[in-house]
C-alpha cells in the first residue's frame, strides 16, 4: 500500500463517520445528540428514541452496507469482464426484482408469505441468474455494446411484465415506487438480511480477489498460470448475484455506484484487486451514506429518489468513459 492509498482510506473513513452521524441527526425531524446517545444506551419508549432506534439507525447501517456491496460488485464485474464500463445495475437485475414485487403484491397469498423485501430478493436472484448466465455464456467474445443492449432489453421485458400486472391489479403507480427504490423502508430486517447474505458473500468475494487479478490479465495468461478463467468468471458472477439481489431487495435501483466507485479507486490504487475491492467497499459505503442524506434533505419533508442522484453523477461519467475507451 502506498502513501496515497493510506491517505485516501483515512479521509474516506472520516467522511463516512461524519456521514453516519449526520444521517442519524438530520432529517425531517432534527434530533439532538444526547437523544441518540440515550436511545442506544438508555432506551425509553418515546417517539424520538423510537425514530432513532427503529428508523434512522437501521437506515444508516443499510445505506453503508448497500453502498459497500454495490461498490465491490462493480469492481468484481469489471475485473472478470476486463471492461471498465461493466456495471450490474445496467444488466436488468433490478428490473427483475421489480417484476417479482409486482407479482407478489398481485397475489395476496404470496404477499402475505414474503413481503416486498423477500420478493425482491428472490426476483433479483432469478433474474440475476438469467442475465448473468446468459451474458457469461459468451462474455468473452461478446462486446460491451451487446452486453449492455442485452441488459436494456431485459430491463424493458421485466418492466413490461410488471406493468401488465400492475395495470390488471389497478396498482399502476406503485411501479414507479418500486423502480425508484430508496431506503425509505429500511428496517432491522433489512439490516439482518444485508448482514447475513451480504456479509458472507462479501467476505468470500474478498478471498476471490487474487483470482480476479489473474483473470484481469487476460484469458491466455490466466490459463498459462494454471487457472481456469471460465470457472473463475462463473464463480465471481455467481457471487455477484446474491450480492446485487440483497441490495436491490433493500434499496431498489441505485444505479452506477458500481461504476463510479471502482473508477475512482483504480485511479488511486492501480490494478490490484486485493486493494481495489475492499477500498471500493469503503468508498461505496461513504458515497451512498451521503447520497441518502442528500436525498432526505434536499426537498424536505419529501424524499428524492436516491437513484436519481447516483444517475446524475453516473450517466455523465459513463459517457466520459465511453469517449475515452478505444472503441470502433
Amino acid at each position: 500500500m502506498n502513501k496515497k492509498t493510506i491517505v485516501f482510506c483515512t479521509i474516506c473513513s472520516g467522511i463516512a463517520m461524519i456521514g453516519l452521524f449526520v444521517a442519524i441527526l438530520a432529517g425531517a425531524k432534527q434530533i439532538p445528540i444526547k437523544t441518540i446517545w440515550d436511545s442506544i444506551f438508555h432506551y425509553e419508549d418515546v417517539l424520538e428514541m423510537q425514530l432513532v432506534r427503529d428508523v434512522r439507525i437501521p437506515r444508516v447501517i443499510s445505506t453503508a452496507l448497500v453502498g459497500g456491496i454495490l461498490g465491490i460488485t462493480g469492481a468484481m464485474m469489471q475485473g472478470v469482464t476486463r471492461n471498465p464500463i461493466a456495471e450490474p445495475s445496467l444488466m436488468g437485475i433490478t428490473q427483475g426484482a421489480t417484476f417479482s414485487i409486482a407479482l407478489a403484491s398481485a397475489s395476496p397469498f404470496l404477499y402475505g408469505a414474503m413481503g416486498n423485501t423477500m420478493a425482491a430478493f428472490l426476483g433479483a436472484m432469478i433474474s440475476g441468474l438469467l442475465v448473468l448466465g446468459f451474458s457469461m455464456k459468451s462474455a468473452r467474445n461478446m462486446n460491451l455494446s451487446r452486453l449492455l443492449l442485452a441488459g436494456t432489453a431485459l430491463s424493458t421485458f421485466f418492466i413490461s411484465m410488471a406493468t401488465i400486472l400492475a395495470l390488471l391489479t389497478n396498482k399502476s403507480q406503485n411501479i414507479a415506487f418500486w423502480i425508484a427504490g430508496g431506503f425509505r423502508s429500511a428496517t432491522w430486517t433489512s439490516v439482518k438480511l444485508l448482514f447475513v447474505v451480504g456479509g458472507i458473500t462479501t467476505i468470500i468475494a474478498l478471498f476471490f480477489a487474487p483470482k480476479i487479478n489473474i483473470v484481469n490479465l487476460g484469458e491466455e495468461v490466466c490459463i498459462g498460470l494454471g487457472e481456469n478463467p471460465v470457472k473463475i468468471r462463473m464463480w465471481t458472477l455467481l457471487l455477484i448475484i446474491p450480492m446485487c439481489a440483497v441490495c436491490v431487495a433493500v434499496a431498489g435501483n441505485i444505479a452506477f455506484i458500481g461504476l463510479i466507485v471502482p473508477y475512482i479507486i483504480r485511479k488511486i490504487v492501480g490494478q490490484d484487486y486485493r486493494l481495489i475491492m475492499p477500498i471500493s467497499f469503503l468508498a461505496g459505503a461513504t458515497l451512498v451514506i451521503w447520497a441518502d442524506v442528500l436525498a432526505r434533505l434536499i426537498n424536505q419533508p419529501y424524499e428524492t429518489p436516491i437513484g436519481l442522484f447516483t444517475s446524475l453523477v453516473g450517466v455523465p461519467l459513463f459517457i466520459i468513459m465511453i469517449r475515452k475507451e478505444k472503441v470502433g
Partner: protein
C-alpha cells in the same frame, strides 16, 4: 433465392390481410366478416360503419404508419451504427420524446387522461418530436470525437436512455394517478391518439422521410460494408451518417408522437425482413415496414381485447414478444 423471395411476399401479404380482418372484426362489438364486407361496400348499418370507419380503421391506419416509421428507423440505425441490435427505443430517442411529453403533462396536472383538450392533443406530437430530436442531437454530439464511431454512438445512447428514464421516474413519483396513467401510456407505448386527425397529421412526414431513406438505400448498402470500404467507394461517410441518423430520429419521433415509446418494433421488422430477402436495403426496408406494421396492428388489437375492459399498452405486448426474440438473436450470433 428469387423463388423464396416471391414466396415470402405472397405469404406475408396473406398474413397481413388476415391480421387486418381480425383487427376490424375483434372488439367489444364483434363484427362478422360478411358484415365487414358489407360495411366497406357502404351497405352496413350505422353502428357498424361508425365502428369500422371512425374507430377501427383510423387505429389500423395509425398502427400502419407507426410500424413503417419504426421499421425504417430501426433499419437505418442498425446500418449506421454497424450494430444489428440497435433500435430507437433502446438508445434513448423514444425516451427523449416521452420525457418531453411527461414534462408537459406534469405541468398541467388538471387534465386527466380522457379529458385533454383538443389543443393539447395537437401539442403532444410536436412536443414529442422536439424531445426525440433533442435527445438524438445530444447522443450525436456526446459521441462526437473526430467523427462519430458507431460503437460509441450506441453506448452513449444506452447511457442517455438510462439517464432520461431516471428523470422520468422522478416525475412519475410526484404525479396524480390520472396523470400517471397517461404518462404510462407514453412511456410504454400505446395507440392513444387513434383518430383520422392524427393519421393525416403524421402521414406527410412519414411519406417524405420514408422516400428520403429509400433514396439513400444504396448508400446504406455500402455503409453496411464498413466505413473504410464505403469511403473507398466514394461515400462521404460522416456526412451521410449524420443525415441518415437525422432521418431515423425524425421517423422514430413521428411514431412516438402518436404511439409513445414502443420498443423492439424497430428491431423485429428489419430482422425478419433481412432473413427473408437478404441485407439489401431497397428490398429490406419496405418488407420490414410491412412486417412491423403487421406486428403493431396485431399487438394493438390483442392488447385492447385480451384483458378487456382494461387496455394494456400495445408497446408492452411487443416488448414481451420482442425481448425473447432479441435474446435469441444475440445467443445465435455470439
Amino acid at each position: 433465392m428469387k423463388k423464396r423471395r416471391s414466396r415470402s411476399y405472397i405469404v406475408l401479404s396473406l398474413v397481413f390481410l388476415g391480421i387486418l380482418l381480425l383487427a376490424l372484426s375483434w372488439g367489444t362489438y364483434q363484427i362478422s366478416l360478411s358484415d365487414i364486407y358489407k360495411t366497406i361496400m357502404g351497405k352496413g348499418n350505422l353502428l357498424q360503419s361508425t365502428t369500422i370507419w371512425d374507430i377501427r380503421m383510423p387505429r389500423i391506419g395509425i398502427a400502419l404508419l407507426v410500424g413503417i416509421c419504426l421499421a425504417a428507423s430501426g433499419s437505418v440505425l442498425q446500418t449506421v451504427t454497424g450494430n444489428e441490435l440497435a433500435e430507437p427505443g433502446m438508445i434513448g430517442i423514444n425516451a427523449g420524446a416521452a420525457l418531453m411529453v411527461v414534462l408537459v403533462i406534469s405541468n398541467k396536472t388538471t387534465n386527466y387522461y380522457d379529458a385533454i383538450g383538443a389543443s393539447a392533443l395537437y401539442i403532444m406530437p410536436v412536443v414529442a418530436i422536439f424531445g426525440a430530436c433533442m435527445s438524438g442531437i445530444a447522443i450525436y454530439l456526446l459521441s462526437y470525437k473526430r467523427g462519430v464511431s458507431p460503437t460509441r454512438l450506441i453506448l452513449t445512447g444506452i447511457g442517455v436512455n438510462v439517464g432520461i428514464n431516471a428523470f422520468i421516474s422522478l416525475y412519475q413519483l410526484n404525479m396524480s394517478r390520472g396523470d400517471y396513467n397517461q404518462v404510462l401510456t407514453w412511456t410504454s407505448g400505446s395507440l392513444w391518439g387513434s383518430s383520422w386527425r392524427f393519421f393525416w397529421l403524421i402521414l406527410p412526414g412519414v411519406m417524405v422521410f420514408l422516400v428520403a431513406i429509400l433514396h439513400k438505400a444504396k448508400i446504406l448498402d455500402v455503409l453496411s460494408l464498413g466505413d473504410e470500404i464505403a469511403t473507398g467507394l466514394g461515400v462521404q461517410v460522416e456526412k451521410e451518417r449524420r443525415i441518415l441518423f437525422f432521418f431515423a430520429i425524425v421517423l422514430a419521433a413521428l411514431a412516438t408522437s402518436v404511439a409513445g415509446n414502443i420498443a423492439f418494433l424497430g428491431l423485429l421488422g428489419p430482422h425478419i425482413a433481412k432473413r427473408l430477402v437478404g441485407p439489401v436495403h431497397r428490398r429490406q426496408i419496405p418488407l420490414a415496414a410491412l412486417i412491423s406494421s403487421m406486428i403493431m396492428i396485431f399487438a394493438d388489437t390483442f392488447s385492447r381485447n385480451m384483458f378487456s375492459p382494461i387496455e394494456i399498452p400495445a408497446g408492452i405486448m411487443i416488448s414481451i414478444v420482442g425481448v425473447p426474440y432479441f435474446i435469441y438473436l444475440m445467443m445465435k450470433e455470439a
